[in-house]
């Protein structure tokens, strides 16, 4: 650095004057000028070293040294491009994986929700916070009573979580489906969301009889209305009714990502609780706590308040409300993911460790080759600290380059993740590389540099100067020690990879087990299509649907078709059902999931009818009211009896007759035991949650879509242009979080395995190179090629066995801690453990075989002659 050139020169002059004066004194005492100079030099000592330590007092030297080290490192790395490339790539993978997972963890777990003062927001859920949607939601009257009587909340507002049939947008080309969500007028205000354009709903707008209004979400405004600002205040036609667009929501507000992961929302409409007073459980509630009130304090209040209100109002259907649970909204949204994400975080942490161990190993190998260079520098006056610093600078430069590349990879991966709209993971669309991610990158790059740089740096700088300069290094004790440290590093690498693989293996086995669960229906080759139909009376509905099912069923390739208002593993709703004449205990839970379906539904879905018969189109509106139940209901309400022909109450109008029993179908999750379900014929009920046509086909569904659509259009010109939603994708959506984690952990485990095998290969290969002479001697003395080869391979396998042993023990501990994330798989699953051990041994064998073959091909004559 030019800044110091003047001072450096001055220091050199100062030292030179010292030497001159010392020599002059000696000349004056009678020595020859040559002797005097030599003697003065000897007395002075190591001139560059003295200059160096003196310069360090200036304080700025660190900076100067750093620049020097950087320049030197740059030159060195430029000479060894392939080493640098491998090191940077490995680091990029390790750091990139860490940044991606950190970004997800930061968004889902650490960062507050994207709402104003989000820590004040709380989730209010009935039924202990578990169970179907109907359990955790509230009726209008209980909402009103709660809103008016509680002391903990500044505001309580709700939305309708039940899947509403898509609205139909007309006036913009073909009719298009619009995904809407109904919210209370003060819902957005409670969350602290301000519209980006226009205004929020007003209280009047939600009153019965007022004009319909809607707020558009930002993405929908951009795609459907091309960001046209004049849309605000205009009227659009939804389901043939005019709706005024009063505003556009900000891009930061993604309703689905917080409240309904994996679904999109196009617009938000205001609903008034009065309108749905008699609809039963309708609202999911969110409250804003008063300042200083904790969720625990609110919990204490509601635990008393709800039972009191229930007793005071004498309302039925309040059973689930009495068990209301208050959780922080953040906790509600991301609580379930915490464990999985922490596991993921640990997995990438292990990847980083493996990367560091690997890099350490590479640097050791390289440093061993450079020991003479360092001995020379030491002889020329470089202090030990300086050499360590130099080596750490190298690792820092490598890790910075790796971090930069890793950041690029992470950026791409995060972009990809954020656009996986169908993954049922909350807040995923909010994931991005932000300041925190950048700081995290910086931190792990630093930590990694020190972790992988320190061992080689200390080892190398500690090498005995004279030994190294004298000896060529072959078979010296320093070399052996090196080799031992490197072997230890490889063993720990294998152990880490073993833990990762076992964890991934267990999660993968769980995933396969989930995939293997008997769904009770056959999702393949089947799809659901949102439909609309024109029926003004209840009688007409049955006729129209019958005609539709008949016509679509006649299309070539259609095997079966039927109507339903809900799909398994989708959003659900529940009513109450009891066996007539049976006395139930007072706290009996009579919840039952309900689906309104047409005849032929069970055939189209592939649901087995266990007893009795399917619905028929002749089960008329005014005839005997009939239902089918699933096996879980039969067991709950008619234990030990044949329920066919029995009378049930609570579902539909008055008494209903059970005409059949069908197999259980999972409602909310594949991983949960099936709960009671009831099926009501669409000919006898107009209470539809949604309107879907199920089509089972022998042909590819895409090729079938046009003919189905034109058939529907011919019956109802207003049929919106909708697309088939395959039942496979419904199942996928439900299992997507598990798949997501299994795949990610699997990728990380694969990465760990790759790095570990690279590490084994590197160490063995390097050892073979160093021992070329030794092997040559042994072969000259009569060792066979096979023997040499076996020797190398057995050494590799020894490291692998130790690593696997250590790793297996550690895996038992780790498996115990993730046991709650497993499904149908024991944490000690022998298949996984044995499989991983065999896999690692196999990989170690291959990684050792290549250098072993090289060793066996060593020509003793050539080996002995070299050097």
């Amino acid at each position: 650095m030019s800044l110091f050139d003047g001072r450096k020169k001055e220091l050199n002059e100062e030292i030179e004057s010292h030497l001159r004066m010392a020599a002059a004194d000696r000349v004056a005492a009678g020595a020859t000028p040559e002797d005097a100079r030599r003697d003065a030099m000897r007395e002075f000592g190591n001139v560059p070293l003295v200059a160096d330590v003196t310069r360090e007092r200036w304080g700025w030297l660190r900076m100067e040294n750093l620049m020097q080290d950087l320049r030197y490192t740059w030159r060195t790395l430029k000479r060894e491009r392939s080493f640098a490339a491998v090191a940077i790539l490995i680091l990029a993978l390790g750091i990139g994986a860490n940044v991606v997972v950190f970004s997800v963890v930061n968004t889902v777990l650490l960062r507050p929700l994207p709402f104003d003062h989000s820590q004040e927001l709380a989730w209010i859920a009935g039924g202990g916070g578990v169970g179907g949607l109907s359990d955790v939601t509230y009726r209008t009257d209980s909402y009103e009573a709660f809103r008016d009587h509680n002391q903990s909340f500044r505001a309580v507002a709700g939305f309708v979580p039940f899947r509403a049939p898509d609205f139909k947008l007309t006036g913009y080309g073909e009719p298009k489906p619009v995904a809407g969500v109904w919210v209370m007028a003060d819902f957005l205000q409670t969350l602290g969301i301000q519209p980006m354009l226009g205004r929020d709903f007003t209280a009047q707008e939600a009153l019965p009889g007022s004009a319909s209004v809607a707020l558009l979400t930002y993405p929908y405004w951009k795609t459907q209305f091309h960001g046209d600002q004049s849309i605000v205040g205009r009227s659009i036609t939804l389901d043939n009714m005019p709706v005024t667009v009063v505003g556009v929501l900000p891009p930061s507000f993604d309703f689905g990502s917080v409240f309904a992961p994996g679904t999109k929302t196009d617009l938000v409409r205001a609903i008034h609780p009065y309108d749905v007073r008699n609809y039963g459980h309708m609202f999911s509630l969110v409250g804003r706590l008063k300042p200083g009130v904790t969720p625990a304090q609110a919990q204490a209040e509601v635990s008393v308040l709800f039972p009191q209100m229930r007793d005071a109002l004498k309302t039925q259907n309040w059973a689930s409300d009495a068990n209301t649970v208050i959780t922080g909204l953040k906790e509600h949204v991301s609580g379930e993911l915490r464990r999985s994400l922490i596991v993921l975080w640990c997995a990438v942490g292990m990847i980083l460790l493996i990367v560091c161990v690997n890099l350490s190993n590479l640097l050791m190998a390289r440093a061993a080759g450079r020991s003479k260079e360092f001995a020379m520098r030491t002889a020329l006056g470089a202090g030990r600290g300086r050499i360590v610093r130099q080596l750490l600078t190298e690792s820092l430069l490598l890790s910075s380059a790796g971090a930069l590349l890793g950041l690029g990879l992470a950026f791409a991966a995060v972009m990809y993740l954020a656009h996986q709209g169908s993954l049922a993971l909350p807040l995923l669309s909010e994931v991005r590389i932000d300041t925190a991610s950048l700081l995290w990158t910086l931190a792990i790059a630093m930590v990694a540099a020190v972790l992988f740089g320190i061992v080689p740096a200390v080892r190398v700088s500690g090498i005995n100067l004279q030994e190294t300069l004298k000896d060529s290094g072959h078979g010296t004790s320093a070399g052996r020690k090196h080799q031992r440290i490197r072997s230890t590093l490889v063993v720990s690498e294998i152990a880490l990879a073993c833990v990762l693989l076992v964890g991934a293996g267990l999660l993968l086995r769980s995933f396969l087990k989930v995939m293997d669960v008997d769904l009770g229906f056959q999702p393949s080759h089947t799809a659901a299509l949102p439909i609309t139909f024109n029926a003004t009376t209840d009688e007409q509905r049955g006729e129209v649907l019958h005609e539709m099912v008949r016509r679509v069923g006649d299309l070539p390739g259609v095997e079966a078709t039927a109507f339903t208002d809900s799909l398994p593993l989708d959003r659900n709703r529940s009513w109450g059902l009891q066996a007539k004449g049976r006395t139930y205990p007072p706290d009996w839970n009579n919840d039952i999931y309900v689906s309104v379906v047409s005849p032929g539904f069970f055939r189209a879905m592939g649901i087995r009818i266990v007893a009795g018969r399917d619905f028929a189109w002749t089960d008329a509106l005014k005839g005997t009211q009939v239902i089918l139940i699933n096996e879980a209901t039969a067991k709950r309400d008619w234990p030990g009896q044949n329920p066919v022909g029995k009378i049930a109450v609570g579902v539909g109008r008055g008494e209903t007759t059970v005409i059949g029993v069908v197999a259980n179908v999972p409602e909310s999750s594949v991983e949960k035991a099936s709960t009671p379900q009831v099926y009501v014929p669409v000919t006898q009920s107009n209470d539809l949650a949604d309107q879907l046509l199920i089509v089972r086909s022998s042909l590819p569904l895409d090729s079938l879509a046009p003919s189905v659509m034109s058939t529907l259009r011919s019956m109802n010109p207003g049929q919106p242009a909708t697309t088939f939603r395959t039942l496979d994708s419904v199942v996928d959506h439900s299992t997507s979080p598990r798949r997501f984690f299994a795949v990610l952990v699997g990728i990380f485990a694969g990465l760990g395995l790759l790095l570990a095998s690279l590490g084994i290969y590197g160490v063995i290969s390097y050892a073979v190179t160093r021992q070329t002479q030794e092997i040559g001697v042994r072969m000259a003395l009569g060792a066979t090629r096979e023997r040499v080869q076996m020797g190398v391979i057995s050494r590799t396998l020894r490291m692998a066995v130790i690593g696997i042993a250590v790793g297996t023990v550690a895996s038992f501990v780790v498996a115990k801690t993730i046991s709650t994330m497993l499904f149908g798989t024991e944490p000690t699953d022998p298949v996984t453990f044995v499989g991983v051990a065999v896999l690692l041994l196999g990989v170690a064998f291959v990684a050792g075989y290549l250098p072993a073959r090289r060793a066996a091909r060593i020509d003793p004559m050539v080996a002995l002659r070299s050097e």
Binding site: E10, L11, E13, E14, I15, S17, H18, R20, M21, A22, A24, D25, D39, E43, F44, G45, N46, L49, V50, A51, V53, T54, R55, E56, R57, W58, G59
Partner: protein, 118 residues
């Protein structure tokens, strides 16, 4: 320099070099070589100041403002960097000397008490 002469020398006690340098400079300004010679002579060749300690110390003292430096011609008409003690340096020397005195007295007390205590 004979080897035996080296062995008679004592390594400087940690932290005393600053004091010795400042004390030497109290007699007048001096260059690095002169300081090392002066310490050697005034200690009857017992104390040897390594250049690897002396020059870092001088540059550190300069940075601390206890000495100032100037390039001048020496008696032998050689250009050399002369160091001069500053007011701050004198205060620091007085302080150091006082502390040193206390330390020596304390150590002496311990050493002489040792026999009777045991």
């Amino acid at each position: 320099m004979a080897k035996s002469a080296y062995q008679n020398r004592i390594e400087l006690v940690q932290g005393t070099l600053d004091m010795l340098v400042l004390k030497t400079l109290q007699w007048g300004e001096q260059h690095g070589y002169g300081i090392s010679q002066a310490i050697r002579v005034s200690s009857n060749e017992v104390l040897q100041v390594e250049t690897g300690s002396l020059y870092p110390a001088l540059h550190r003292l300069e940075r601390a403002g206890w000495v100032s430096a100037e390039w001048k011609k020496s008696d032998a008409n050689q250009r050399a960097k002369f160091y001069k003690i500053t007011m701050l340096g004198k205060k620091h020397l007085a302080n150091d000397y006082e502390r040193w005195g206390k330390m020596v007295a304390t150590i002496e007390a311990i050493m002489s008490a040792k026999e009777s205590a045991l």
